[in-house]
Amino acid sequence: MSDEEDDLILSELNDEELVLQMMDDLYDGMKEEIEEAVNILLERNWTPYDVLTKALVEGMAIVGVDFRDGILFVPEVLLAAGAMKGGMVILKPLLIATGAPRLGKMVIGTVKGDIHDIGKNLVGMMMEGAGFEIQDIGINNSVEDYLSALEEDDADILGMSALLTTTMPYMKVVIDTLVEQGKRDNYIVLVGGAPLNEEFGKAIGADAYCRDAAVAVETAKEFMARKHNQLSA
């Protein structure tokens, strides 16, 4: 890092430059700079929703693309998500106070019988980094655990994870129960985990199989956009 770089003063940038700078800072996982920039935009009377969607979410999308393409790896992405989260801490109460539309709320957990949680944790961290609200219900979840969490949290998305070939079929049990209770259409159901694939996702009636955390974020955004469009149609 050169002296020239250190001299940069965020508040002296115009809005457009600042937003570009935020995207760079997100990419580099610079939490304090993101927090500072969020506050500057708010002082300039940006709405909290615009700060979230036009600066932070767009910046994280670049990170997501480079992760998908094998240019960035998990450590860099988690640092970026951590920086994003720093901004979200500031924005969250303001978003609620201003009645901004929420990006989406996800209940996530590994299925009954499955104790492997690192993939699930990564998805949770990256979804949170992309601006979603996450209710992580941990490992080894029964149908009842998932259903009660979905209702209590008024969630939009259900994320189920399994690493074991012996536990992945349980995802179908959860989805079948949602169908039986007439609640399947209330939720976007995303599934993931090392032994899964797209055919499996289709076979059990999930909305999508997500190969990795970046795909999970992109897929969640896509489905939430469709949901909003349906509601406003």
Binding site: M1, L20, L72, P75, L78, I118, T165
Partner: protein, 336 residues
């Protein structure tokens, strides 16, 4: 005093490792969601049968049932206060099985990842990770393990923390990582990165290598990557028996014993000295691997085409070694 593994490595051209622990235990009706380590206490006969399955199939080394035996993993089952005892029993049963075999078989105390993400990205500090590994290592060594065997690691910091813990305990060890993301570990480590890291350790392992990951083809490509960095210590190859497939409501690994025999030969040709299986590898696979290794002379290192033709396609185009590293952003600091 030299350990049994080092002794065998000196006298033998190759050593056969073991196969799958999880797959085998599930076949013994381990209920999904139960920590396998709890069976050390409740079903020692089945754990003995797991070990005997490897020994009777010709394994020179087998891993104890303690992969998830750290504080951080057992905590998920509220058994975090039993780390020492569950690991000690895992090794004790192994010691008995090895001593009863009538030949020299290495009891390797399995140590898996903590499942937590280390600082600065995550919250697990280096020192806490060392403590976590040390506690498990003590139990395994007390139970009579010949060596400790770290596996399925993706973060370099975690590998280093385990190396430090094993140094504190004075235990000889082996450590493998899992390369499952476009030729790299989940945390972005390439095959040559790993060789470099291992070379730089104050307490280096007896052997290092790769386990699990995607399929046998990818694993062999990683071995070729190790070779490019001229490692100074023996290489371990423990690949999965193919890839899990979901067929008519059931899951099975698509690797046949014959195919795993081919894999074993290619792994040896690619530079591995310790060759075993991972998920999906059952005793019949091990028997086929041993027979292949005994009946076929060592050949020259395979290239990517030969691996693909014998074992199937790779999961990604890149082996992670083509220089596709994260670019520093051109305009890290605009303005200025």
């Amino acid at each position: 005093m030299t350990d049994l593994l080092s002794e065998l490595l000196e006298t033998r051209d190759w050593l056969l490792g073991d196969g799958a622990t999880g797959t085998t235990l599930f076949n013994m009706r381990l209920e999904a969601g139960v920590a396998p380590e709890i069976w050390n206490e409740t079903h020692p006969d089945r754990i003995r049968a797991l070990y005997d399955g490897a020994i009777n199939s010709g394994s020179d080394i087998f891993l104890t049932n303690s992969f998830g035996g750290t504080y951080s993993r057992l905590k998920l089952h509220e058994r975090q206060n039993d780390v020492f005892i569950l690991n000690r029993i895992a090794a004790e049963i192994g010691r008995e099985a090895a001593d009863a075999s009538g030949r020299k078989v290495v009891v390797a105390g399995s140590v898996g990842p903590t499942g937590e993400i280390m600082e600065p990205v995550g919250e697990l500090s280096f020192n806490t990770a060392v403590e976590i590994f040390e506690e498990q290592a003590k139990g395994l060594m007390e139970g009579g393990a010949d060596v400790l065997w770290l596996e399925t690691i993706s973060a370099p910091e975690e590998y280093k923390a385990a190396a430090k813990a094993f140094q504190n305990v004075g235990a000889p060890w082996v450590g493998t990582m899992s390369f499952d993301t476009a030729g790299r570990t989940m945390m972005g480590v390439t095959a040559t990165d790993m060789v470099e890291m291992v070379n730089g350790l104050e307490n280096p392992p007896i052997a290092f290598g790769a386990n699990c990951g995607v399929g046998a083809s990818d694993l062999l490509r990683t071995l070729l990557g190790f070779g490019k960095a001229n490692p100074s210590i023996p290489v371990v190859s423990k690949g999965n028996a193919g890839i899990p497939k979901y067929v008519h409501g059931h899951i099975h690994y698509d690797g046949t014993p014959e195919l795993m025999g081919e894999y074993a030969l290619l792994a040896r040709d690619a530079g591995a000295k310790i060759i075993g299986g991972c998920c999906g590898t059952l005793p019949e696979h091990l028997v086929a691997m041993r027979a292949a290794l005994e009946s076929t002379p060592r050949g020259s290192a395979p290239d990517a085409d030969k691996i693909r033709a014998t074992l199937g396609a790779f999961s990604s185009d890149s082996d992670g070694l083509d220089g596709a590293t994260a670019p520093k952003r051109k305009n890290r600091r605009r303005g200025g």
